[in-house]
């Protein structure tokens, strides 16, 4: 099963399982989503549960917040993460604060799904990574699974979560990543990272598409006798500090890879956390591979490749850090 199939089947099962669940977004109904994720859902579950919305992201999220506070389980889709900015106030200013400002009287069991990331020649408005814009906000859960099995388990957990969840799906992995998916309903605990590959000489923390590149790079280095441990963060916030620290304490070296801009990115937070918690375990400077500080990913292939960290670059960085 590919990542996109994992999203589709999980959503389908959720709709079938729980009548409170509904999907709303641009083109999710008759069109079946631009990636055909919800194709056929409208016919199967009806227009009240698969709702086509106007091109108004603030409304999509705003209405979904109201539904969530009244007991439904809305899954709002932002067609591309690049379009989420109009809904920023609804997400940050309202959804994330609902439980806190109502002293727990209200919660906001809302899932906001959105494809993010580059590598598909999406260009300016279809390639952005948005996690750093939101992970600063307490009250908001941000998930970014990378494999079909994790997508299913974490999407189910997100739908169950009583508080708002921003569910990020890297579009490059939609069809390029395949994997076994356990049958039946299951959830993966939010806030738990996963060691995708065990190693001893170096810890790599990543997520999304970069995670798969990192795994490939680590496997290449295995032939050189370099043992790399690759951690899939999966949950950006809450962050699994324990898994990261445990790994760093074992390998004493840390490389963080993410596609989002480097400055102020999730790598900065992880780096600071490790420096605070495990400085005396470190045997090398913490290193980050991330997107450059440019406003957007270019459409031209050379520009896109320049923005995206290549597997070769990862290999080289891991090799140097292991050798340090």
């Amino acid at each position: 099963m590919t990542n996109v199939e994992a999203v589709r089947t999980t959503l389908h099962d959720a709709l079938a399982r729980d009548e409170r669940v509904l999907i709303m977004g641009e083109d999710v109904g008759a069109r079946g989503n631009v990636f055909l994720i919800t194709k056929g859902f409208l016919e199967e579950f009806g227009a009240e549960r698969v709702v086509d919305t106007p091109l108004a992201e603030a409304s999509i999220v705003g209405v979904a917040i109201g539904m969530a506070m009244e007991g439904l389980r809305p899954i709002a889709e932002i067609q591309f993460a690049d379009f989420i900015y109009p809904a920023f106030n609804q997400i940050v200013g309202e959804a994330a604060k609902t439980r806190y400002r109502s002293n727990g009287d209200y919660t906001c069991p809302l899932v906001i799904r959105t494809p993010y990331g580059g590598g598909v020649r999406g260009a300016l408005s279809h390639s952005v990574s948005i996690e750093a814009l939101f992970y600063h906000v307490p009250g908001l859960t941000i998930l970014a699974p990378s494999t079909p099995a994790d997508i299913k388990g974490l999407l189910n957990a997100a739908i169950e979560c009583p508080d708002p969840v921003l569910f990020l799906e890297h579009k490059k992995t939609y069809r390029s990543v395949k994997g076994e998916v356990p049958s039946g309903y299951y959830t993966i605990p939010i806030g738990k990272a996963d060691v995708k590959k065990a190693g001893t000489q170096l810890t790599v923390v990543s997520y999304g598409y970069n995670l798969h590149q990192a795994l490939e790079a680590a496997n290449r280095l295995e032939g050189e006798g370099v043992s790399v441990e690759v951690i899939d963060l999966r949950s950006i916030r809450p962050m699994d500090k324990g898994a990261i620290l445990a790994s760093v304490r074992k390998t004493r070296k840390l490389l963080i890879i993410h596609e989002d801009n480097k400055f102020g990115g999730i790598g900065a937070e992880i780096s600071a956390m490790v420096a605070e918690e495990a400085l005396f375990e470190l045997d090398a400077p913490i290193r980050r591979l991330a997107g450059p500080d440019v406003p957007a990913m270019g459409y031209a292939q050379p520009l896109e490749e320049e923005f995206m960290t290549s597997t070769d670059e990862m290999v080289e960085a891991m090799r140097e850090l292991a050798k340090f």
């Binding site: 004493r252 400085l279 005396f280 375990e281 470190l282 045997d283 090398a284 400077p285 290193r287 080289e316 960085a317 140097e320 850090l321 050798k323 340090f324």
Partner: protein, 487 residues
């Protein structure tokens, strides 16, 4: 920022101090409040804590040297002030050494943040200063400066911590990391064989060691007034064979010299003061015997309740001191000092207690002992003895004595001739209490608890009449004490 440490004034009356022993040497890390020098004043060695966290830069005063209070004795580079500039010679980064030796996480963090080099990579273990080969900058490509400062190598926090934990001298660990950097694994490998073996195993060869440990200098030939002997192949004549008579003689030529115990500063001071006292004050000595049966009974009656109430054992000593200070009031010349200007009769009655503690003789003082009851004296003496045994006496505890009581009986002595504390006129001993038959005034014979009391006196101040009068008075007072009294 360097901090100059001065000779502290360890008591109000103290004007000078002797550096008894340096507990640190230049280059050593010292934490704030960590003792780094022993200073002797009076008869005690007081450990002086460092006022700053830093590294000893210079010891100005040698051991055994006496300087006035306030005189500079050492300079410490203050790490906390962030001015621990590495010496140009690469003798060590103060902040690094402090962090390594003291395990000061903050200091270590500060160091790491500043990305200072770690000259020598020494982690506070003893060893020669390390001058590592200067590898070129590690081309890590991560933007982190990984160059090498002159005279030293950088080590990561993990390496520093592991080296400290496993007691590995990084100066002797060969790095396998980029450009010779010492990695955490290098330290762990070195540690596998244990600290000393690890160090030996990882020592670089002389060829590779840029600054090998210098070999010890050749032994100096014995002084001679003649020309050096010409080398010859002729063997020296054999020693003459001893005759049977000579063999039978006992020979002491090969006697073992015995153990030589170096003089501690405290012992030096004690010796000097004893000599001074004996040379200065012409000692006379007298003794009386005291029937302490009744006061002993009193003590026995009170001791359990007293210990329960105050946590202090009630001995005969406070009763004795009480009697002594009353006698001093009756014979004030015994509480005096001989000076060139005249005999100074002290207004205060400050009784020193001679105590053996930690191999030294110290005499802490109960101030205004004449104003204390038996109970007060017991508590005051108990506190001083406790402090003496824990090494917590301060200079003020030892200063100002005007008369001394020496409890030699505690060790079973029945007679002793104590040496005066310089400047005092009398020192009196309480000897062991011994039960023996005594012929009493009414010609009866009774078993009594008897104690000898000995007095050494400065014959310049008092003569036999005063001394005997004092001793007789003391005897009467002790014998008058009984179970009907109040503590």
């Amino acid at each position: 920022m360097p901090t100059t440490i001065t000779m502290p004034q360890l008591g109000e009356t103290v004007t000078e101090g002797t550096v008894a022993q340096w507990l640190k040497k230049p280059g050593d890390a010292v934490e704030k409040y960590e003792a780094f020098v022993e200073v002797s004043t009076d008869k005690v060695n007081a450990e002086v804590p460092s006022p700053v966290t830093g590294v000893i830069r210079e010891l100005i005063v040698k051991e055994g040297e006496t300087v006035p209070t306030g005189a500079p004795i050492a300079i410490i580079d203050d790490v906390a002030a962030g001015a621990a500039t590495p010496e140009p010679t690469g003798s060590g980064s103060p902040s690094e050494q402090v962090a390594a030796a003291a395990g000061d996480r903050n200091a270590e963090a500060n160091h790491q943040a500043s990305d200072e080099p770690v000259p020598g990579g020494n982690v506070g273990l003893s060893g020669p200063t390390y001058s590592a080969p200067a590898p070129s900058n590690a081309a890590s490509g991560n933007g982190a400066s990984s160059g090498v400062a002159p005279g030293g190598v950088r080590v990561s926090p993990a390496v520093r911590r592991l080296a400290r934990e496993h007691r590995i001298d990084l100066a002797r660990v060969r790095g396998t990391g980029a450009n010779g950097r010492i990695t955490a694994n290098d330290v762990l490998e070195a540690a596998k064989a244990g600290p000393s073996a690890a160090v030996a195993a990882m020592i670089t060869t002389a060829k590779e060691e840029p600054h090998p440990i210098p070999a010890p200098p050749p032994p100096t030939p014995p002084p001679t007034t003649s020309a050096p002997p010409t080398p010859t192949t002729t063997p020296p004549p054999p020693p003459p064979t001893p005759t049977p008579q000579e063999r039978a003689k006992p020979s002491y030529a090969g006697a073992r010299p015995g153990e030589l115990i170096p003089l501690t500063q405290a012992r030096k001071i004690i010796a000097q003061r004893m000599v001074d006292s004996k040379h200065t004050a012409p000692h006379a000595w007298t003794m009386t015997e005291v029937d302490v049966t009744n006061v002993w009974k009193w003590r026995v009656r009170e001791k359990d309740a007293f210990e329960k109430a105050y946590g202090v054992k009630l001995t005969l000593l406070p009763f004795f001191i009480r009697a002594a200070v009353e006698s001093l009031a009756a014979f004030p010349l015994m509480n005096a000092s001989f000076t060139d200007e005249g005999i100074r009769v002290h207004r205060d009655v400050n009784v020193g207690l001679a105590i053996a503690a930690g191999g030294n003789l110290i005499v802490p003082v109960i101030r205004h002992a004449d104003q204390l009851s038996v109970k007060g004296l017991a508590l005051a003496a108990g506190e001083l003895i406790d402090k003496a045994r824990r090494g917590k006496l301060g200079a003020d505890d030892l200063a100002g004595g005007t008369f001394t009581v020496n409890n030699t009986g505690a060790n079973g002595s029945i007679l002793s001739a104590p040496i005066l504390v310089p400047g005092q006129t009398g020192i009196v001993t309480t000897e062991a209490v011994v039960k023996r038959p005594v012929v009493r005034d009414d010609d009866s014979i009774a078993i009594r608890s008897m104690m000898n009391v000995c007095l050494s006196l400065d014959h310049r101040v008092v003569d036999g009449a005063v001394a005997s009068g004092f001793l007789s008075d003391l005897k009467k007072r002790l014998e008058a004490m009984g179970p009907t009294g109040s503590l």
